[in-house]
């Protein structure tokens, strides 16, 4: 899968509320990058169904994030297999990660990838993301 273009969008499944929150886009320990699905390749209802089938609670919707924002934040997008039970949904799974050089610089500064991502990147994504109407 080629890297998405700047005019494309990626998706994150979130609990439906007035606006996305930074907590919807935080990295947990053990995660290399923010788990996302590429937009417009599989119906969003199918993506939500796949996540719901895994047991995710709440009324779910999809937050739409411009790929250009992720690139502006210094992230790369890497295709990795999804973890749902739906093969088609898994095929459009990607992760937004810091590139190797950025991770190295963070390490030299004594800063973890998670701290940097959650403090600097997550709020920006939450600000820019829109909920699919």
């Amino acid at each position: 899968m080629a890297n998405p273009n700047v005019d494309e969008q990626v998706l994150r499944v979130i609990v439906n509320r007035a606006s996305p929150r930074p907590a919807d886009f935080r990295l947990r320990k053990g995660e290399n990058g923010l788990s996302l699905f590429l937009g417009s390749m599989v119906p969003t209802t199918r993506i939500i169904d796949a996540v719901q089938a895994a047991g995710k609670k709440g009324e779910l919707t999809v937050a739409v994030i411009p790929v250009s924002l992720l690139y502006d934040l210094g992230l790369t997008i890497v295709a990795t297999p999804g973890g749902t039970a739906d093969r088609e949904v898994n095929a459009i799974h990607v992760e937004a990660r810091f590139p190797f050089l950025s991770r190295l610089i963070l390490r030299l500064k004594g800063r973890t990838v998670h701290d940097e991502f959650n403090e600097r990147v997550s709020p920006r994504i939450a600000q820019a993301a829109t909920i699919l109407g």
Partner: protein, 82 residues
């Protein structure tokens, strides 16, 4: 103590039982790895509570269990006084 496990297998049963007996309540983080969504969180007092949480979960989900007594407040606490 933090314990991670795969819910369908519910491995480490004796460890989990001890966690509830000795250090309840237990904060349960349900992660959905590579599913593009944030974790769900539950506070469980008993193993039965945990079973109710895990019953509807599908394959590939991870549970991370922490006794609330092990939680550290690394920032300024939020205090509400009335």
């Amino acid at each position: 103590m933090a314990t991670a496990m795969n819910p369908p297998a519910l491995e480490n049963r004796s460890e989990i039982a001890a966690l509830f007996v000795e250090r309840a309540p237990v904060l349960v983080e349900v992660r959905f790895p590579r599913m593009a969504t944030a974790p769900d969180w539950y506070l469980c007092e008993t193993e039965d509570d945990l079973r109710r949480v895990t019953a509807p979960l599908g394959a590939g989900v991870e549970l991370h269990l922490h006794s609330v007594w092990d939680l550290r407040n690394v920032t300024v606490p939020s205090v509400i006084k009335r």
